[in-house]
């Protein structure tokens, strides 16, 4: 049987959006292979209704496993057990930190092939072929699996969420044992929010700042420009500067932050790493200001300005104000 097992991340009573996308994609691919899409949830007393709700995205069956949440290795144990019980030819993960860790650990456990950062998957001759952009997205490589089980780890937002109206999925409890090393990590604090709670997802205009701002105070330039746009403009940030404590986590774009698609995304001092790109590439208009002409962001910006943001941003703020005032 060519069934597909899909990892579903959940937190605080809801399934992660990228996992819903992975379940939708898994259901589509399983149908082409003539198999079924099954999902797996792991946690402490996972509500069965939550598990069953994945039927709406195409999962036929959902396995529920009891174990510590938010860590990868217990899921490697649980998924390896489910796959060992039989019937699965592929394991599929949506984008996100845990999916990468679990998928890689599972590949090692099973001696399975793994492709990560996958942006598209297709069925061909009863097999799945994964497409993976490489070399800074300048080429796409296609990957097949020689192993009995193939592991596909999606890029953030690569898989579209689709409700199928399939009704509730069948829920089944999975019993498995934690391996010794899976008990050696303990979650002490999960999901801590750092910095002010700001809303960037509803903004039409986002002025985003990165390491190129030089210091925390550099965000003042972004805030002034956002204020000049007025109304529905806000300031966003890259992971590097959020981790450095320059700006609140709630304003972070990308892999472990928000995904946005405003009318205008103006990136100041942002190099454009893949982890950032995946969170903002659907923006309607992308403007980048960076002093490094080799910055990858110029590859996917609609208007690129090579220059010193400390000189450009204040003058741009004045000009936007003047234009708005006229």
């Amino acid at each position: 049987m060519a069934n597909i097992l899909i990892y579903a991340l959940h937190y605080d009573g809801a399934i992660n959006k990228n996992s819903l996308g992975a379940v939708s994609e898994g259901a589509r691919l399983a149908a082409e292979l003539g198999g079924e899409a099954h999902a797996i949830l792991l946690g402490e007393n996972v509500p069965h209704e939550l598990a069953a709700s994945l039927g709406n995205y195409g999962a036929k069956k959902v396995l529920v496993a009891e174990g510590p949440e938010g860590l990868a290795q217990p899921l490697v144990d649980a998924m390896a057990k489910a796959i060992g019980d039989g019937g699965y030819k592929y394991a599929l993960f949506g984008g996100g930190l845990l999916g990468f860790e679990i998928g890689a650990g599972l590949a090692a456990r099973l001696g399975a092939g793994v492709a990560m950062e996958v942006t598209a998957v297709r069925a061909e001759g009863g097999e799945l072929i994964a497409e993976r952009p490489i070399l800074g997205d300048s080429a796409i490589s296609e990957i097949k699996y020689r192993s009995e089980v193939g592991i596909i780890i999606g890029r953030l937002n690569a898989f579209e969420t689709k409700e199928t109206g399939g009704g509730d999925a069948q829920v089944e409890e999975l019993s498995f044992e934690l391996s010794a090393h899976s008990t050696q990590a303990k979650m002490l604090v999960r999901g801590e929010q750092r910095g002010a709670d700001v809303d960037i997802e509803g903004a039409n205009v986002l002025i985003a700042g990165g390491r190129g701002l030089g210091k925390a105070e550099g965000f003042k330039l972004c805030e002034e420009l956002a204020a000049a746009f007025g109304g529905n403009a806000a300031v966003a940030a890259t992971r590097a500067v959020v981790d450095a404590g320059w700006y609140p986590y709630a304003a972070q774009i990308g892999q472990t932050g928000k995904t946005v698609a405003p009318k205008l995304y103006l990136a100041a001092g942002i190099s454009g790493a893949i982890q950032h790109k995946v969170g903002m590439q659907s923006s309607e208009n992308i403007v980048a200001i960076n002093k490094d002409s080799n910055a990858p962001i110029f590859e996917f910006s609609d208007l690129g300005v090579i220059g010193d943001l400390n000189k450009i941003l204040p003058k741009l703020t004045e000009a936007v104000k003047a234009k708005k005032g006229s």
Binding site: Q73, E101, A108
Partner: protein, 263 residues
Amino acid sequence: MKICVLVKEVPDAAVEKKLNPSTGRMDRSGEKNLNPYDTHAIEAAMQIREGGVAPVEEIVAVTMGPESAVRALHKAVSLGADRSVHLCDDALAGSDVAATGYALAQTLTRESPDLVLLGQQSDDGECYTIGAVVAEHLGMPSLTQVIKMDVESGALRCERQAEYGYDTVQVSLPAVISVGDAINEPRYPSLKAIMGAKKKQLDTVAAADVEIDAAKVGGDHSAAQWVAAKAPPAKAAGEIIEDEDTGETVEKIISWLDERKLL
């Protein structure tokens, strides 16, 4: 405590990266350097040593790669590693991430470290996953993208950003930890350290020396098989302005925004 740091030689950032069209593997010719992300892992090891909470007997840099990879090891030693191990064998060429992780784990087993550190990603392969593969083979707990790490008796208190905010996780040693680039600001090596790097012990080992099963490594045995490469969907190239006269630049930006009714 003994710390092993996994390092990798990558094409220099200034070199244009391309594929060998017949194999689908990366063309790794041209100028090479130590993967910049790895310097954060070496620095993290140095800070544990200097922090003094747990005495660090040895910091060992470990790499897998062709002969040229010794330069990455020299760099790692100049940044603070005491000695280095080079896994070098033609049979390993073309290994995928799973096979590479297995081979590195075999090499690490011989060293029996208390802590394995590595950078969050390589500058060329962008896989982010080698740490999790190595940990599984070693049977050690593991965490990736750690941005703060404190040594507590027999364990590490690690912080990282995950899907829903910042997580704090206690990981018992021995463990495999990949560090994010926000964890520290790597120091520059001293001239003396650079000059002395080549004199430090460097062990070169072949696959058989660390009991690597030849049927599990190399391009022909890797479970993920490259079948084709293609160009991504063409995207119209964006307009580029080089700022020479800022007044003029700003005017151009404003009219660009205005044309698109973004003001």
